[in-house]
C-alpha cells in the first residue's frame, strides 16, 4: 500500500509549464478615467462608487497631502524621480457587475482567471475568492460556513457600503494618509482591495485568498486592504499577484492595515510578481494589542522598484510580531524591502528573517528598524538577513537601524552575504543536473525557510517563478 504524496513530493513534481507575462487581448472597460490626478478625478471616483460624504472628504484631504509631500529620500531616489504622475490612469473599472458565482464572471476575465488557476484552487481549499481584476473586484465568493461564523470577507468597496460603521472606525487609523507620499496617494484614489472582519473568538480555519492583477497599460493600482481580528480570533489572509509585461511604467501603491485585538492572531501572506516595469510602493502596517500575534510573510519578485517595509506596532504586553520576507532582484530591478518592529509595551517580542537574491546586476536592500520605547522592558527581538549574490555585477546592501531606549532588552542581529558556490554547482552537476537546474535548486533551497510557510499551491507557483527567473543564468 503506497501512502499519499508528501508535500515535498508534490512540490517538486511540477511540470514547468507555468507562463506569466501574458495579457488578454480583448478588454472591455466599463469606465476608464483620463490620465493624471485632479480634485475632479478624485471626486468622480468617489461619486461613481456612491460613497458617503466622509470618504469623499477623506480622499480630497489626502490628495492635498499627496501634492504637498516630498518624495521619500530613501530607497532609490533616481527611480522614484522617473515616475510621471501625470501619465497614469488612476481609476479603471473592468465591468459594471460583480460576479459571485463563477458562471456570472465575464468570459474574457474568466480566461485570465482560468490561466491563474482560480477555479481549481477554489475547489481545493479556497474559503472565499476575492480576485481583483483591474481596479475592482469582479469575482467574489464566500463559503457558507464562513458566513455562518459571521466572518466578513468582501472587497473594500463593498465593505464600505455594507459595513460603513466598522470601516469608518478603523480606516486610516493604522496608516494615516499623511504617513508618507504614497499612503496619501492611495488614500486619495484607492479602489478595491479586501475588507476582512473576524468576530471575537472565531478561528478561520482555511486561508482567505485574493488574486490581484494589473492588466491595463499605464494604470495605477491602489488597492486598500483592512483586516480586523476581534479579540481571540484567528485569520490567515493570502494574496498572490502576477502581472503582464508592458512597455511603459505602471504604478502600484497599496495600503494594507491590520488590526489584531487582544489575543488575536493574523497571518498575512503575499507573493508579488510584478512585471519589471512596475513601481511597487506599498505601505503595510499592523497593530498588535496585548497578547496578539501578527505575521507578515512577504515574497517580492519582479517590479522595477519595490519599496516595502511591513511593520508591526506591538502596543500591548506580550504581543508578538514576525516578518519573514524574500526578495529577488534581476536585471534593472531594485528590491528595497525590509521590516519594522516597534515595541511600545513590555514583554513584547519580534522576529525578522529576510532573505534576498540578486542576479544579472539586480539590487536588493534590507532596510529595517527595531525600536524599543522607554518602559518596554523584557523585550526580545531577533533580526536575521541573508543575501545571496548570483554574479559579480549584482549588489546587496543592509541598512539595519536599532533605536533602543530601554535597558532590559535582548536584541540579536545577524547578517550574511554569500555567493552561489562553485563546489555546490559542481556537486549537483556531477549528478547530471544542468547548470540552470543546479542553480535553481540552490536558490530554491535558499528560499526554503520562506516556501515552507506557504500553502502548497503558492509554494509551487513560487518555485516555478524562481525557475523562470533563473533560466539562462550563469552561475
Amino acid at each position: 500500500m503506497v501512502a499519499e504524496l508528501t508535500r515535498d513530493e508534490m512540490l517538486h513534481n511540477v511540470k514547468a509549464d507555468y507562463k506569466y507575462g501574458f495579457h488578454m487581448g480583448e478588454e472591455d472597460y466599463a469606465f476608464k478615467s483620463g490620465k493624471g490626478l485632479t480634485r475632479e478625478i478624485v471626486t468622480q471616483i468617489s461619486k461613481m462608487k456612491n460613497e458617503p460624504e466622509w470618504m469623499l472628504k477623506y480622499r480630497l484631504k489626502a490628495l492635498e497631502i499627496f501634492l504637498k509631500k516630498p518624495m521619500p529620500t530613501w530607497g532609490n531616489s533616481q527611480m522614484l524621480g522617473d515616475i510621471d504622475f501625470e501619465n497614469i490612469h488612476y481609476f479603471v473599472r473592468a465591468t459594471e457587475k460583480q460576479g459571485r458565482d463563477w458562471e456570472d464572471v465575464p468570459e474574457g476575465i474568466k480566461k485570465t482567471f482560468d490561466r491563474l488557476g482560480i477555479p481549481e484552487a477554489e475547489r481545493k481549499f479556497l474559503a472565499g475568492v476575492t480576485a481583483q481584476y483591474e481596479s475592482e473586484v469582479v469575482y467574489h465568493s464566500i463559503r457558507e460556513d464562513l458566513e455562518k461564523q459571521g466572518v466578513v470577507f468582501l472587497d473594500m468597496d463593498s465593505g464600505l457600503r455594507e459595513h460603513e460603521e466598522i470601516v469608518r472606525k478603523h480606516f486610516g487609523t493604522v496608516i494615516p494618509a499623511a504617513d508618507n507620499k504614497f499612503s496619501a496617494l492611495n488614500s486619495a484614489v484607492w479602489s478595491g482591495g479586501s475588507f476582512v472582519w473576524v468576530p471575537e473568538g472565531v478561528k478561520v480555519e482555511i486561508p482567505l485568498q485574493a488574486y490581484f492583477r494589473i492588466n491595463t497599460e499605464n494604470m495605477g493600482q491602489f488597492e486598500r486592504t483592512l483586516i480586523i481580528a476581534e479579540p481571540g480570533s484567528y485569520v490567515h489572509y493570502i494574496e498572490g499577484c502576477t502581472a503582464p509585461t508592458y512597455s511603459s511604467d505602471s504604478l502600484h501603491s497599496a495600503v494594507v492595515e491590520l488590526i489584531a485585538k487582544p489575543g488575536a492572531h493574523i497571518r498575512y501572506t503575499t507573493i508579488q510578481n510584478w512585471s519589471n516595469n512596475v513601481y511597487n510602493l506599498v505601505t503595510k502596517r499592523a497593530v498588535a494589542e496585548a497578547g496578539a500575534k501578527v505575521e507578515w510573510v512577504d515574497g517580492n519578485l519582479g517590479s522595477k522598484l519595490t519599496m516595502k517595509y511591513p511593520s508591526i506596532y506591538l502596543m500591548g504586553p506580550k504581543a508578538h510580531g514576525e516578518v519573514l520576507s524574500i526578495a529577488f532582484a534581476g536585471e534593472g530591478q531594485h528590491q528595497d524591502a525590509g521590516a519594522k518592529m516597534v515595541h511600545f509595551a513590555p514583554d513584547t517580542s519580534s522576529i525578522i528573517v529576510s532573505k534576498s537574491i540578486s542576479k544579472d546586476g539586480g539590487r536588493t536592500s534590507y532596510r529595517g528598524l527595531v525600536k524599543v520605547y522607554p518602559g518596554a522592558d523584557n523585550v526580545k527581538s531577533s533580526v536575521k538577513c541573508d543575501a545571496l549574490l548570483m554574479d559579480e555585477e549584482s549588489r546587496s546592501d543592509t541598512y539595519p537601524t536599532m533605536e533602543i531606549d530601554e535597558k532590559d532588552v535582548t536584541i540579536e542581529h545577524e547578517a550574511s552575504v554569500s555567493k552561489v558556490g562553485e563546489d555546490q554547482l559542481f556537486y549537483l552537476m556531477s549528478r547530471g543536473l544542468t547548470q540552470d537546474e543546479a542553480t535553481t535548486m540552490i536558490v530554491n533551497g535558499f528560499f526554503e525557510p520562506f516556501t515552507k510557510e506557504l500553502p502548497l499551491e503558492y509554494a509551487v507557483e513560487l518555485n516555478r517563478l524562481i525557475a523562470l527567473n533563473m533560466e539562462g543564468s550563469v552561475g
Binding site: D423, Y427, L428, M429, S430, R431, G432, G445, E448
Partner: protein, 256 residues
Amino acid sequence: MSATPILEIKDLHVEVEGKEILKGVNLVVNAGEVHALMGRNGSGKSTLSYTLMGHPRYVVTKGSVKYRGEDLLALSTDERARKGMYLAFQYPVAIPGVSVSNFLRSTVKARRAVDIPVKEFRKELKEAMAKLGVKDEFLSRYVNDGFSGGEKKRLEILQMALLKPEMALLDETDSGLDIDALRTVAEGINALANKDNALLLITHYQRMLDYVSPGFVHVMQAGQIVKSGGSELAKELEAQGYDWVTKELASSGSSK
C-alpha cells in the same frame, strides 16, 4: 580484440591554479573491473577524480581521456554524469533547504532522462535505502546539511545505487567511517559492481580493500601511476608502507 574500454586515460597532465599536479597519468579500465588507486595524501588521487568529473578548477594541459571511446574532456560535468560517470565525493557539500528526496528524484530524472512517477520512485528508493540501512527520516533532511561523516558516505552510495553509473569513482569513501559503517558501505559497493560497469576506488588505506576486492591495484606518486599489480600489491603496501614503493622504484631506476 576485446571491447572498447570504459575509461582510457593517456598521458594526462593537469594543473590547478597554475601548478601541475598530474604529470602523465595512464590508466585503462574495462567493464566488469574493480580498480584501486592508492597513494599518499597529495599524490594526485583526488585531482584525478575531480578532473575526470570535469571540475572547472582542474585544467587539463596535455593528454586525453576516452569514455567508451568518446572524448570525455569535451563534455561538461553534467553531460558526463548523464552518460554514466559518477563521483562519490570525499567531502560532499551541503545544499541547505534542498531535501534529500527532492534531490535524489531530480538527479535520477536527469540521469535516466525520463520522468519517474513519484510513487514508483519512492518504492525504488525505499528498497535501496533498506539495503544501505538508511532511515526514512533521512529523506526529509537537507542534503548533507549537518550530516555526520558516515551519513554523508551513505548518501553518496545511495545515490550511486539509484544513478547506476557505468564508471564510478569513489574518492576516499572509506575515510571517516567506523567499522560497521565501513562494512555496510562496502557491501553496498559490492552489490553495485557488475559485468557492465567499472569501479575505481581511491584510498590510502588497505582496510576498504578487505571488503571490496579489486582485481587491479595502482600506486600513485607525485602525479603519476608508478606501479600496478593485482590485489596482492595492496597487501604489500599495507605491510611495507609507501616508502617501499619509492625505494623499489629508485633502485630499479624506473621512476621518471
